[in-house]
Symmetry: none
C-alpha cells in the first residue's frame, strides 16, 4: 500500500523492525494488548503481515519486545539515576521527573506501558516480573542511601520505593485515563506535588 517506503535499501538494519515495533505500540495504545492483531500491526506499519514473523517469533515475542523497548528504557533511566551521587531529595525528584517526562515526550508509549503491560499476563512470567521488581529496586537503593546518610528517617527503603512508585504510577494512570489532551499543563505541578508529599512523608 505505502509504496513510498524503503523496499529499495535495507540500509539501516532494523529500520523495518523499528517501524513494526512503533506500529505495535500504536495499536496497543488504540486497542489494547489483547485487542492487538498482527494484521493490524502490519497494516499500521505498512508491511505484509508475513514480515512481522520475519522479525518476531510470534505475537508474544512482539509484545515482549515492545515491553523491553519502553519499560527497559525506563528502568535504565532509573538505574542511571541510582548510580550517580547526589542528595536524596534531588534523586527522588529525578525519578519522578523521569516518569513524567517520559509521559510528556511519548504519552502513547507510557499509556501502553502503564495500562497494558505492567499488569498484563506477560507479567505472569517470573522473568518479566523481575523487571518490575528491578524498577522498584533502583528507587529503593536511592532511598537506602538516604537513610544511611541520615537524609531520611529510618524507613524500609523497599516499602518507601513501592509507595513512591505507586503514587507516581497512579498519578500517571489518572492522567492517562483522563480525556486525552486534558491536564497536559499541570504535569509539572502534579509531579512536584507527588514528590512533595512523599518527601515530607519520609523526611527526618
Amino acid at each position: 500500500m505505502q509504496e513510498a517506503s524503503s523496499r529499495t535499501h535495507p540500509r539501516r538494519d532494523g529500520e523495518r523492525r523499528e517501524s513494526i515495533l512503533r506500529a505495535a505500540v500504536h495499536v496497543f495504545a488504540k486497542k489494547g494488548y489483547h485487542g492487538c492483531r498482527i494484521a493490524d500491526v502490519a497494516r499500521e506499519a505498512g508491511v505484509a503481515y508475513g514480515l512481522v514473523y520475519h522479525y518476531f517469533q510470534n505475537t508474544e515475542d512482539l509484545l515482549r519486545s515492545v515491553f523491553e523497548e519502553s519499560f527497559g528504557h525506563f528502568v535504565r533511566m532509573l538505574e542511571a539515576i541510582a548510580a550517580t551521587e547526589g542528595p536524596v531529595v534531588q534523586k527522588v525528584e529525578e525519578v519522578a521527573t523521569a516518569a513524567f517526562d517520559a509521559y510528556q515526550n511519548d504519552p502513547e508509549s507510557i499509556r501502553v506501558l502503564v495500562l497494558e503491560i505492567l499488569r498484563s499476563p506477560v507479567f505472569r512470567e517470573a522473568e518479566q516480573r523481575q523487571a518490575f521488581q528491578e524498577a522498584i529496586g533502583h528507587i529503593a537503593s536511592v532511598l537506602r542511601r538516604g537513610v544511611e546518610r541520615g537524609e531520611l528517617r529510618s524507613i524500609d527503603p523497599f516499602l518507601g520505593a513501592t509507595a513512591l512508585f505507586g503514587a507516581i504510577e497512579m498519578a500517571l494512570t489518572t492522567l492517562v485515563m483522563a480525556t486525552p489532551g486534558a491536564d497536559r499543563l499541570h504535569l509539572d505541578a502534579t509531579c512536584q506535588r507527588v514528590v512533595d508529599i512523599f518527601l515530607r512523608g519520609v523526611a527526618v
Copy 2:
C-alpha cells in the same frame, strides 16, 4: 443490578449463579481475564457451559459481574468510610485497612481485581472508568474534609487520594506478585507503614 431470576427457588438459583461467579474469579486468578474461557469457568463450577449463558448474557457480562462483586464491594466500603464522621488520621487508616483486610480475607479476588480488572479493557469504557474515579473520589472527600478542618495541610485532595490509592495498590501488587504465602505476616505492618508515610506527607 443483576435482574434476580425467577423467585421459584431463590436459594438454589442464587447458589448456582454464585458458584459460577466464584469459579470465574478462580479462573481469572489462574489464567487472567483474557485466558478465561467460558468452558473453563463452567468446568470449574461443575456445570455445562450452556448454563453459564442462563445466568449471564455473555462473557463481558460475566466479567462485569465479577467486577461488581469485588471492586463494587470495595468502593461501597470506601463510600461508607467517607460517609461517617471521624478524625482524618483514623479515616485514612480505615481506608488502608479496608484494602489490606480485603486482601487478607480473599487474596484471590484482590489479585484479580488488582491485576486483571483495574487496568483491563473494560476500563476503556467510560462507564467503568467512572468506578475507578469513584474510588479515588471517596478517598478525596475524606482528605478534603481533613484539609477544611485543618487536620491536614493544604494539599489537592484528589492528588492526595491518588497518591494514597497508588501507594496502597502498589504495595498490594508487590504482595500479589510475590510468591504466594510470602509476607503474609507483614500485612499489618506494611499497611501501617504506608499509612504512616502518607500521613506524615500530608500532615500540617
Copy 3:
C-alpha cells in the same frame, strides 16, 4: 447445508463421529493424507469444521483414528486367524484372502491404508510402527507353528512373514495404482497366485 441430517437426535452416539471418519477416508483417498484439509473433510461429511474438533483433537488425531479404524481392523483379523487352529496352508490362504477381501469390500479404505498410511510420517512414531510389526508378527506366528509342525521347511518365520506381507501389499499396490475399475475381476486369481508362489517357496 445438508439440513436433512440428524441434528434432532444425537441418538446413536458416535453417529456423527463415524460420518466424519468416513468422510476423512474419502478425502484421503481422493487427495492423499497431505492434501487433506479439515475443511474438505467437514464439507464431505456435511458438517461445520468446528465439529471436527469436537470429536478429534486435531488433524493428526483424525488420521490416527482413521488408521486405527482401518489398519486396526485388519490387524485384528490377522490376530483372529493366527489364534485359531488349522493347517498352515489354509492359514496362509486366509491371511491373503483377508487382505484381498478387504480390498474388494472397501477399496477406498485399502487404498488409503496402503498408499497413505502405512508409509506416512505418522509411522515415524514408534507407537504406530508397532502396529506394522504387529501385523507381520501375527503372520510370523502362523508360519512359526507351521515350521514347528513340519508343515513348512525350516525358514525364519519373521522373514517369511515379511516376504508374504510384502508380496501381498505390492500386489494390492499395483491394483490400487491401476486405473480404478480395472482388474477387479482378477482379484481372486491374483490372490491365489501370490499364495501359490509363497507356499511353494516355503514348502518342505
Copy 4:
C-alpha cells in the same frame, strides 16, 4: 535430464546443485517429504534459500530430482540387469543384491526412496507411476525369459515380479524402520533368504 547449467564453471555449478540435492535427501530422511521446507534444505546445504530456486524450479522439481537421483538410478540398474544375458536364478539374485547393496551403500537415500517417494503423492501423477511400473517391468522381463526358457514354471511374469519386488521392499522397510544400526550384519543373509523363498516358489 537435468538441463546442465552453463558451462562456465562446470565443476562448481554441479557441486552446488549436488550439495543441495544431498541436503534434500538428508532432510527428507529426517523429516519426511512433507515436513521438508526449502529453508531446511538450504540451511542443511549451507546456502541461502533463494539459491535453491536458482537450481530448481520449485519444491516439486526438487523432489522430482531427488527421485530421479535415487529411484532413477535403481531403475537403470534393473534395466541393465534385465538387458544382459544369464540364468534366471543369477539374474534374480542380481536384482535383490542391487536393492540390498543400494541400502548398504546409502541407507538414507533408500529410506527416502522406500518411505517417502514410492508411495508419495508425486506418484499420483501418471508420469511418475510409470517409473514404478517400469521397475516391476524390468524384473518381469527377466522372469518372462526364465519362463520361456523353461528355467521357471509357468507363472505370470508380472505377478511374479510384483511378489519379488514386494518381498524385497518389505524386507528393506522393516530394516529401515528398525532402530538404525540394528541388523546391519544380516543384510546379506536376509537378501539370500528372500531370493531363496522366491526362487523355490517359482521353480519348475
